[in-house]
């Protein structure tokens, strides 16, 4: 079945994008802003100026309730993003980047290391951002297939409320690898699991964690017959209140469930 084929791809480890080839790809793609000497065109400087303006607006309001983000450390955050954007001016600054740098900076507490990690992280994440690859639509389609296969009752509800199938309530989840949904300690655990899962079980573990989030509250969603707006509101309110350990363990079970399903075919 078509849905099964799609799903089976999600449960196997794929080796596309191993570190070396990605590194080569990156260095082959020279930014117009790369330092090769000479004089920078006015448009390039103006473009970068605009980006810095946008970066400043977001850096100063990034996780300010978290004690780590003193003015000094916010400067580090700003440096990392400015450097990245200078090297990727064709992409430019996009809202959400601050959220991806912040946990790295908190745990590593080192500007250079955090920058390097962020560059590697963005190799996977950049396609999720608007105008850079349409990976978000693929995530939504994959979610749809997974729900259809693993929770038909939920799929039925989503089908009734047509809008549900767009899965836009997962937008922030996928854009930021759940960073806004979880407390910092849990972000570290979940991110490490996502990274490790690429080598151990599935390079699409984010999908299973997303599905686990939905499944954690399936009884509430079903009992209240929630539609798209109910569910987006529900998850906005639940942000940082999830029991990440339980969700993680459910996500692992869902990978196993799908693998078992495929093996038994």
């Amino acid at each position: 079945m078509d849905e099964d084929n799609k799903a089976s791809k999600l449960a196997v480890d794929d080796n596309e994008g191993a570190g070396v080839s990605n590194y080569e790809q990156r260095s082959a793609c020279i930014s117009p802003a790369s330092s090769q000497g000479g004089i920078y065109p006015v448009e390039l400087v103006e473009n970068f100026g605009l980006n810095i303006h946008r970066i400043d607006k977001d850096v100063q309001r990034c996780d300010r309730n978290y004690p780590y983000f003193t003015l000094e450390n916010l400067d580090k955050l700003r440096n990392i993003i400015c450097t990245y954007v200078w090297d990727h001016l064709e992409m430019g600054y996009m809202q959400g980047m601050c959220d991806l740098v912040a946990p790295l900076l908190v745990i590593l507490d080192d500007e250079t290391l955090s920058y390097s990690c962020f560059c590697l992280l963005m190799e996977r994440m950049s396609a999720n951002f608007p105008h850079s690859g349409g990976a978000m639509d693929t995530h939504f389609a994959n979610m749809r297939s997974l729900v259809q296969i693993l929770d038909s009752e939920m799929f039925e509800l989503m089908h009734e409320n047509g809008d549900f199938t767009h899965f836009y309530f997962c937008y922030r989840w996928f854009l930021l690898d759940f960073k806004r949904e979880l407390l910092y300690d849990d972000v570290f655990t979940v991110w490490e699991t996502i990274w490790a899962a690429k080598e151990m079980s599935s390079s699409h573990f984010v999908l299973f964690f997303a599905l686990a989030l939905v499944e954690t509250y399936r009884d509430i969603i079903l009992a209240n017959h929630m539609d798209f707006t109910d569910i987006i509101k529900f998850f906005n309110e639940m942000a940082e209140h999830h029991d990440a350990k339980t969700v993680l363990s459910l996500a692992r079970n869902l990978v196993l469930q799908l693998q078992t399903l495929i093996e038994n075919k």
């Binding site: 607006k57 996009m94 809008d163 767009h166 937008y171 707006t229």
Partner: protein, 212 residues
Amino acid sequence: MANRAVPQRPNGQTPGKICQFKLVLLGESSVGKSSLVLRFVKGQFHEYQESTIGAAFLTQTIHLNDVAVKFEIWDTAGQERYHSLAPMYYRGAQAAIVVYDITNQDTFERAKNWVKELQRQATPGIVIALAGNKLDLNTMRSVQTDESQTYAYENGLMFMETSAKTSANVTEIFKAIAEKLPKNENTNTAGQGRRLVDSAEGSNKSLSSCCK
């Protein structure tokens, strides 16, 4: 849910009529869209309100005489790069608040573009309010009240200067919108404004599908 439109706190009175409206907030990044909503819905203000990713959905009910007006509010991401998501959220909206920052002329220009887009692509007859936010920073003002007032008048918009920080004019602007919205039987169908479409459909077909 059948009882969706019933306000949570009818304040002991028997609500005569319940009207439900979809309202969308648009405007440049960091002008205070989320702060206005947070003030209106929860009475709170965060000096460093984080940027909105995707969109947030909140509801708030206000009472006008014997009518309970329930706003279903879509708070959108402001950055230009997320523009393509906007039609999904303003499509089917009966009201919009286009927000700019009175200390930043660029955000006012961006607000004008949002107004143009709404008038071209959103539901015909949509009630649009222009909000010049950050009135608490009046000493750093760069957009003059006269200028916005004239622009709003010429384009048939409601206009208020607001401050999510001090709460000046926040409830007022929502109330003024509620007063202006038609409250006949056809507009209060619960759930009517909740439909979302994918962004491509929203941007290309909204005019034709709304004109039926």
